[in-house]
């Protein structure tokens, strides 16, 4: 430090602003009685396919909507529109993750109390989204059987920040020589006690258990 300079104390969490917005969102969601579930995974794990099926299958029973984040294109929103649920796309440009303030602006004009479930699909990325609280009640981390059983060990921070692990594309498990026991072991290594679901949105395998799980986690009052 050169003469003439002095130090002033700040002590502020860099993500404080995001955390404050996320906290306010969480309160709003709770007050409105909407159960908010976010999804994170690497690109190509099947978030959009699972989300499309989720919206379609929950709709007869619940009022559902989704916010999807993507770097470019509105393709995901177009795919999800087929479910006839309310969908809003956030195009993040070069940003590799969603932040709470983006969710906040995407919700402008929405009446949250008219919803039972709101899904937030994050940008396909297993690194950056882990630092950003979006105000969700439950975070799902997806990994597909083709990605390798050691994924949780390679990206422990994101698995550690999630509440539930969902193994997708189970219809390809045999072809990919997927070792389920190893995958479970690795998930539990980075997050002991984590709930693990296995499914295929394409074949329908495990979808009932997954939907029951979502129903059971949504508080009756919400």
């Amino acid at each position: 430090m050169s003469p003439g300079t002095r130090i002033i104390e700040v002590r502020q969490n860099v993500l404080k602003q995001n955390d404050l917005v996320a906290r306010a969102l969480r309160q709003r969601f709770q007050d409105a009685g909407v159960f908010v579930v976010s999804m994170v995974s690497s690109p190509g794990s099947g978030k959009t396919t699972l989300l499309e099926k989720t919206l379609t299958l929950l709709q007869p029973e619940f009022r559902v909507a989704a916010i999807v984040g993507d770097l470019a294109t509105e393709n995901d929103a177009a795919r999800l529109a087929r479910s006839h649920a309310r969908v809003k796309q956030i195009t993040t440009g070069t940003l590799c993750h969603l932040e709470a303030v983006m969710v906040q602006s995407a919700l402008e004009g929405w009446r949250l109390n008219e919803l039972d479930f709101l899904f937030i699909e994050n940008v396909g990325n297993l690194v950056c989204p882990s630092s950003y609280d979006l105000g969700e009640r439950m975070r799902l981390v997806l990994m597909s059987v083709t990605e390798g059983e050691d994924k949780p060990l390679k990206y422990p921070t994101i698995f550690n920040s999630a509440d539930v692990a969902v193994i997708t594309k189970m219809d390809l498990a045999a072809a990919a020589e997927f070792d389920g026991a190893a995958a479970h072991r690795n998930i539990l290594a980075v997050r002991p006690g984590m709930a693990i679901l296995e499914l295929s949105a394409k074949s329908g395998l495990g979808m009932k258990a997954y939907l029951d799980f979502l129903r059971s986690r949504r508080p009756a009052s919400a």
Binding site: V10, Q12, V14, L15, P156, A189
Partner: protein, 115 residues
């Protein structure tokens, strides 16, 4: 690569603080960065320069103090350093230990300002 977003946040925090104190000239920002915060130091340092462009902090330095990761080992019943950010295991006995005690820090600690 969310380091640029983080760098922009850091610059904003420093700028606000400097302004709040009557428009001080900031020459350096001191940051505590945990090993398990999910932020790469080198990427953050290079992003910082970009984030400072066109702000009063242009030309300032980012000084990073790295904070080691510590997890609670249920076998040893003690806090233990992690071997790496990719392996949440006790460095003494190898047990799986996923409860993070330290290492998520991402905090602007102080500013160096010119008198």
């Amino acid at each position: 690569m969310h380091e640029l977003s983080i760098a922009i946040n850091i610059v904003e925090i420093a700028e606000e603080e400097a302004q709040r104190r009557g428009g001080l000239h900031v020459t350096a920002v001191h940051l505590r960065l945990g090993l398990l915060a999910g932020v790469v130091k080198d990427a953050l340092l290079s992003s910082y320069g970009v984030a400072c462009e066109d702000t009063p902090l242009r030309g300032s330095r980012l000084v990073v103090e790295e904070v080691p990761g510590i997890v609670y080992c249920p076998t040893c019943a003690a806090g233990r350093p992690v071997r790496s950010s990719e392996w949440f295991c006790c460095s003494e006995c190898g047990s799986i230990a996923s409860e993070i005690v330290q290492g998520k820090e991402l905090e602007v600690v102080s500013l160096e300002v010119e008198e």
